[in-house]
């Protein structure tokens, strides 16, 4: 049993992806990462990741999948923030 209906999670994730789509690639991914990491309950994230693992996420935007991978790796060097997606680099 998924924590929340999977279709709902995919819709929400893609909506977030739609918003950040106009940014350059790295910031586009970072915007989605920051949002998933700091606004979503971890059980929602986990259910979404399980869906991606199980299906490959054919209906999920590519940059959302990249962001999900970053959240799972949990290596981002920045704290939560509001505002435009940061341009991350090795020293940030």
């Amino acid at each position: 049993m998924s924590f929340i209906d999977t279709e709902r999670l995919v819709t929400m994730a893609n909506q977030i992806g739609d918003f950040f789509a106009p940014y350059p690639h790295a910031r586009r991914v970072e915007g989605v990462r920051n949002h998933l990491r700091n606004y979503w309950d971890p059980r929602m994230r986990e259910a979404f990741f399980e869906y991606l693992d199980a299906t490959g996420g054919p209906d999920v935007h590519e940059h959302v999948k990249e962001a999900a991978a970053l959240v799972r790796a949990d290596t981002a060097p920045v704290r939560a923030y509001a505002g435009p997606p940061k341009q991350l680099d090795a020293t940030s």
């Binding site: 909506q15 918003f19 606004y39």
Partner: protein, 699 residues
Amino acid sequence: MPIPVKPDNSVVTTCAYCGVGCGFKAETHEGRVVRMVPWKEGKANHGHSCVKGRFAFDYYAHPDRIRTPMIRASIDEPWQEVDWPTAFAHAASELHRLQDTYGRGSVGAVSSSRCTNEEIFLMQKFARVALRNNNIDNCSRICHSPTQFGLSATLGAGAASQHFDSVLQADVVLVVGANPTEGHPVFGSMMKRAVRRGAKLLVIDPRRTETVDSPHCRAEVHLALRPGTNVLVLNSVAHVVVTERLYDEEFVRARCDWDDFQLWMGLVGDERYSPEVVGPEAGLDPEDIRRLARIYASGPKSTIYYGLGVTEHSQGSTGVMCLGNLTMACGMVGREGVGVNPLRGQGNVQGGSCLGSWPHMLTGYRFVTDPEVRGSFEAEWRIELDSEPGLRLPNMFDAATAGTFKGIYIQGEDPVQSDPNRHHVEAALRSMECVIVQDLYLSETAKFAHVFLPGSSSLEKDGTFTNAERRVSMVRQVVEPLGGLADWQITVGLMNAMGYECHYDHPSEILDEIARTSPAYSGMSFEKIEKLGSVQWPCNTDAPEGTEVLHTVQFPRGKGSFMLTQYVPTRERTDDQYPLLLTTGRILSQYNVGTQTRRTANLAWHDEDVLEISAGDAAARGLATGDRARISSRYGSTELTVRISERVNPGIVYTTFHFAHTMVNNLTSNLDDWATNCPEYKVTAVDVVKAAAHAGVGS
């Protein structure tokens, strides 16, 4: 009792209806409120009032009030009256049982913007220290959560930049998705005063409201856009600002991130946002978009006021960002007569936003995932806090229908009547094992409750409200709580029953705790508010008496941030089956879902929700004013009385949502804002047909 009754006592307090927060002198006779007199010293209202604050106060003593706690094992059983200790013990026992069975995160809480700052603060504290999770939300989730998100993203503070009086210094007033003459009448009157003095009025709204055209108040430009196209149209306004070089380059270079400004110019300057492309899609004359943009940009003092017509969309947060971007681009922020200002629906929505009643943020809009922020609260509360975001209210309901969320404590809210997709909300509540409702009456939501805790109205307790201009004003007890306890005392009682010991002798001690933990409130106290009359946050060592205008020198993050606001059309579309777009709003004499005002003589002015429809659409369906019509969407249906109106364009229908039996939220979808899950109340594809003679109301 002679009429007029001569009062034997009076107390100055703050109205709990809309976000204007008018000061009133509440007069009593033998312990009962007999009159509400607008208070001339009130800094938000200067002695003015509307028909809600002035006359609609009898609700507090209505026979429907519940005065005794009640419990029941299932929602199919009758209520059993109990004393307060029994109710607290039962509720705590049930919440513990659910957490032991289904996990710590299987329960949550929701606070109310009809309650005081101190009560909202206690609700989020309850979730964090008693439930030991971050499953706490507030009712602005379904109205102004995009304001918090969108203004924080751009300007760095999720609140109005101005004080209300600032509008009197404006040369141009842009109203977007709001109808202040009905929704916020006292501010609406002030705005009309500015217009009478010569300010140009610009309105972006699907309807020709009283704000657009009424005696002494006529909009210079009215963009009656197609519902759902806010971001498209606002980007088009920005397109004109950018391509005609109407922006304030000096301001932007000095105060904003220049690189993001250039990115933004690239987006909105694209041909797809030119008025000539946008106009046909949004139902507008391109030249009107250009005129509006030129007037706004030329100021010299232009100000923006907006409402739920901006926020309650699938791009609600994006729409708010559009306004933040526009304000910065034209240098219309940081001084008197300019700025961007949300018109908050309920009396304390701003307080609900400020005081940490969010699943991802503690007070002052600081993330729970930030260890330093968490640490400051852990030191104050002497308990380790959950480091992960909790569930938003819509996601609590989503999880409940999936069988993974089992209990909720709802303070002063009626989500069955007010939240979108009523069927979904009812299914979620029905699936829970413990629903605790704290309210004045047996609301629609209370039908699904297992514990009922009789709450107190704003006339029955002490505390503070923060209005739409960030003004913190005193709420003073006028009469004794009818249920015996003020709302803050109820939450404290439940917190102790859950095993977290806490005690306050008076709400002033709670505000002291808020001040210790919340930078914007750090200089606040009951004593200071009593002395000054009211105080606008931020109130701290830099501004010990508060702050009227924000962003005067710099933005909270230093530079202002332009956000990229690409238009993404809503998935809610008209088709052959649902050819009309329904949008919703409110009327002067009733308030929100009507829980209070329907229980007063204000019913004489407005006793039912009606469907406004254009003459052409009505004729095509054989409808005349006064007929009953069945309105159907993809999610449900209901019946309303028809009123043919010139206020709505062909293809658009409109209604209010003040009456429970109307069940307008049967119709609305579960589509919501990408950033906040604020529901898309303002766009629902519907069909309208003449009602069968003996049809029921909702389904």
